[in-house]
């Protein structure tokens, strides 16, 4: 049983890492992340970068949906806004990539505020449908404003450069994608220790009560939309540098559903849930592919097992929702509790 974690001040109580064990494990994690590119092959590095980008976007959606209770199916559209902004800035002006990412976030944020305007009037499914409109509008914009966006053919993005080095391989991209995502994770974790984050949670739990408590609903809802889409915009920017190609078809509605699924599977309203959800949604199909590859079936196994793999993945999502509606984060919390309380059970 873990002992010695008595808190003697509010500051210690609110600390992000409230024990030395946590700090040690976080240090180990950072070391592992730093060592990963040197031991992993190109395939795993690619997946690590993809997971990282997906985590960034999932945290954004979790701020909006998990913490503020506003359902959105426009995350892919905001990612698209960020990706196109970054692509255009990089191609036309060659500005530094960090500035481009920031600009991508800001443009997506403006888009988020516009799309978030109906959020005071409509909630739940109605809001979800309203946010789908963002996808249609951005798709139209990307495919028809050809002089700026390259039309349906899209834009080929030159690689980001850092100190004269082109970030054109998964190994190099890893070093800018992962730290940015870690920073965004810390940003989100800290957000919920501030007045703004608390207001989001109050709105989620009962918006009328929040209004009675003096929280201006529209302002905070729009703020939540702005933050969420900023995260999506930055993730979209990283997507643009990672894939080096943005087209109107790069950001379909199914992508928004992917992020919503990641939030739900991971655990709504938890930062860890965003990470676990994005990892699950990105890596489980790949792991299933690996498992299928290991099975000694021979013949045309790829052909036969590909649909089976898709069904298993779908079933896993359904089972999660039935057996663990609080998501993977809750499972993790339970595992931790077992270690904390050991040798006792409850």
């Amino acid at each position: 049983m873990r002992i010695g974690s008595a808190k003697q001040s509010y500051r210690v109580d609110e600390a992000l890492f409230d024990s030395t064990t946590q700090q040690t494990w976080f240090g180990v994690l950072v070391l592992m992340l730093a060592a990963f590119p040197f031991v992993a092959n190109d395939y795993w590095l690619y997946l690590a970068c993809l997971v990282s980008i997906n985590i960034a976007s999932t945290i954004g959606l979790n701020i909006l949906t998990g913490y503020t209770g506003l359902v959105s199916l426009g995350q892919a559209a905001f990612m698209g806004l960020g990706a196109y902004t970054v692509a255009i800035l990089q191609i036309r002006y060659g500005t530094p990539f960090l500035l481009n990412l920031l600009a991508g976030g800001v443009v997506a944020m403006i888009g988020g505020i516009v799309v978030g305007l109906p959020s005071l009037r409509v909630k739940g499914l109605y809001l979800a449908i309203a946010t789908i409109a963002a996808g249609f509008m951005t798709h139209f914009l990307f495919s028809h404003w050809a002089s700026l966006t390259g039309g349906t053919g899209g834009l080929t993005v030159p690689p980001a450069t850092f100190l004269g080095n082109e970030l054109d391989t998964s190994f190099r991209i890893y070093w800018f994608v992962v730290p940015i995502t870690v920073l965004m994770l810390f940003g989100a974790a800290n957000l919920f220790r501030t007045r703004i984050g608390r207001a989001f949670i109050a709105i989620r739990d009962r918006d009328i009560s929040a209004a009675v408590l003096g929280i201006p609903l529209l302002r905070y809802k729009l703020m939540s939309f702005a933050l969420s889409s900023f995260y999506a915009g930055v993730a979209g920017g990283m997507f643009a540098y990672f894939f080096r190609l943005v087209t109107p078809e790069s950001f379909p509605l199914i992508m928004s559903i992917f992020f919503l699924a990641a939030v739900i599977v991971g655990g709504m309203g938890t930062i860890l849930g965003s990470v676990l959800g994005a990892v699950f949604m990105t890596l489980v199909p790949e792991l299933l592919k690996l498992i299928v590859g290991w099975l000694p079936l021979g013949g045309n196994a790829t052909l036969v097992l590909s649909p089976v793999r898709t069904i298993v993945f779908g079933l896993m999502i359904v089972l999660f929702l039935i057996l663990e509606p609080h998501g993977l984060a809750e499972i993790w919390r339970r595992i931790r509790r077992v270690f904390h309380l050991w040798p006792f059970r409850t």
Partner: protein
């Protein structure tokens, strides 16, 4: 004496190492593939996979390429670019890949910087996107047929020859695939003195097309070319147009021209025409020994996707063979040069005319027509090669 033993042992060891490295040079030629076996293009991906597998097996059974076997390594991509990239990374991490089959235009464009960096891969795939048909921008890629713009040009050439000055309408989907040939089709029509009377754009799998059919009726074209679809909304267009008494001839491009796809359109599709770069499975006209072999191997109908995969494997391995014959290493540029040396090449009848590959495409095709009585696609023109 002791020294002599050491020298002998070292000489033997180095000889063995050299022998081992000589045999290592005889390693397999690897053909990787991002293949959509699930998702919206699974119908094509499964056929393509089978076509590649069959050709590779035939080649290996006949001794491979200069004694080297071809190893085909496919991965499912669900027709998603990120999964295709993952498949590419996975396959290239596990094997020394020489040849690659790509599943989409999006992936072909996305992976291009990687292919250029690797410098050791020749790529083809399911894309007929015009953008890929640029040897400068995509020097290590090619396509197994004409690009979409060339397909529409073949149709327009056929129309200009059959009915000079005809009125033509273009119906296309609001996607990269659909918009691909539109601009050049306009110019080609002008050059061929054809009258482009309508351009109608629809969502990719649109169901209600009544407004578009009315537009089409108003334009009263002699020919209507569909592009950017597989099946829907083509049958709906044809059914509504016929019920309105329209006399226009309907045409399609490669992905909507498979026998099974056309037959699913129903009896109203009798006379539906379109461009096809390959002979159909049941086409017995002329000499086609390879098609004969396929028919023996697989007695049931094989789709045009199968032929596309089969031919892709044939051309990729032909490029590898020519490179090895010239005593050059299997680099992307050497294989591309070898591929471009293909002139008047007999595909065993898969394409009904000898082919030459000058750039990134094979601008050859034939207009076929649906004959619903015979339940077959029958030739409506000779093979048309664009200059």
């Amino acid at each position: 004496m002791q020294m002599k033993k050491w020298i002998t042992a070292l000489t033997a060891a180095s000889a063995m190492t050299m022998a081992a490295s000589a045999s290592a040079q005889q390693e397999d030629i690897v053909l990787g593939g991002s293949i959509p076996m699930t998702g919206v293009f699974a119908f094509a991906g499964i056929a393509i996979d089978q076509g590649i597998k069959d050709y590779v097996k035939m080649l290996n059974d006949a001794g491979g390429i200069k004694g080297r076997k071809v190893l085909y390594v496919p991965e499912d991509t669900a027709y998603k670019v990120d999964q295709s990239m993952a498949a590419y990374k996975k396959i290239t991490s596990q094997h020394k890949v020489n040849l690659y089959y790509a599943d989409s235009t999006g992936f072909s464009k996305t992976v291009n910087p990687e292919i250029e960096r690797a410098g050791s891969i020749l790529m083809t795939g399911a894309s007929f996107g015009k953008e890929i048909n640029d040897p400068k921008k995509y020097p290590s890629q090619f396509m197994v047929g004409p690009d979409y713009t060339e397909m529409v040009s073949i149709l327009l050439n056929y129309i200009a020859k059959t009915k000079p000055g005809a009125k033509v309408a273009l119906v296309y989907s609001d996607t990269e695939f659909g918009r691909d040939p539109v601009d050049e089709a306009r110019d080609t029509a002008k050059k061929l003195n054809l009258n482009m009377v309508a351009e109608i754009v629809t969502p990719p799998t649109s169901v209600d097309v009544s407004a578009e059919v009315i537009k089409l009726r108003r334009a009263a074209p002699d020919y209507t070319i569909f592009h950017g679809y597989v099946l829907a909304p083509i049958p709906e267009f044809i059914n509504q147009a016929k019920s309105l008494g329209m006399k226009t001839e309907f045409m399609g491009t490669f992905w909507s021209m498979d026998h099974q796809t056309v037959m699913r359109m129903g009896d109203n599709a009798d006379g539906f025409m379109g461009v096809m770069p390959y002979r159909y499975y049941y086409d017995t006209e002329g000499k086609s020994p390879m098609l004969e072999k396929i028919r023996q191997l697989r007695p049931e109908y094989q789709t045009t996707g199968y032929t596309q995969g089969f031919l892709a494997a044939m051309l990729l391995t032909e490029a590898a063979k020519r490179t090895l014959d010239a005593g050059k290493p299997l680099t992307g540029s050497n294989m591309k040069t070898a591929l471009n040396s293909i002139s008047n090449f007999d595909t065993g009848g898969l394409i009904g005319t000898p082919i030459s590959i000058k750039g990134n495409s094979i601008p050859v095709g034939r207009v076929y027509k649906a004959d619903m009585k015979q339940k077959k696609m029958v030739p409506a023109s000779d093979w048309i090669t664009l200059k």
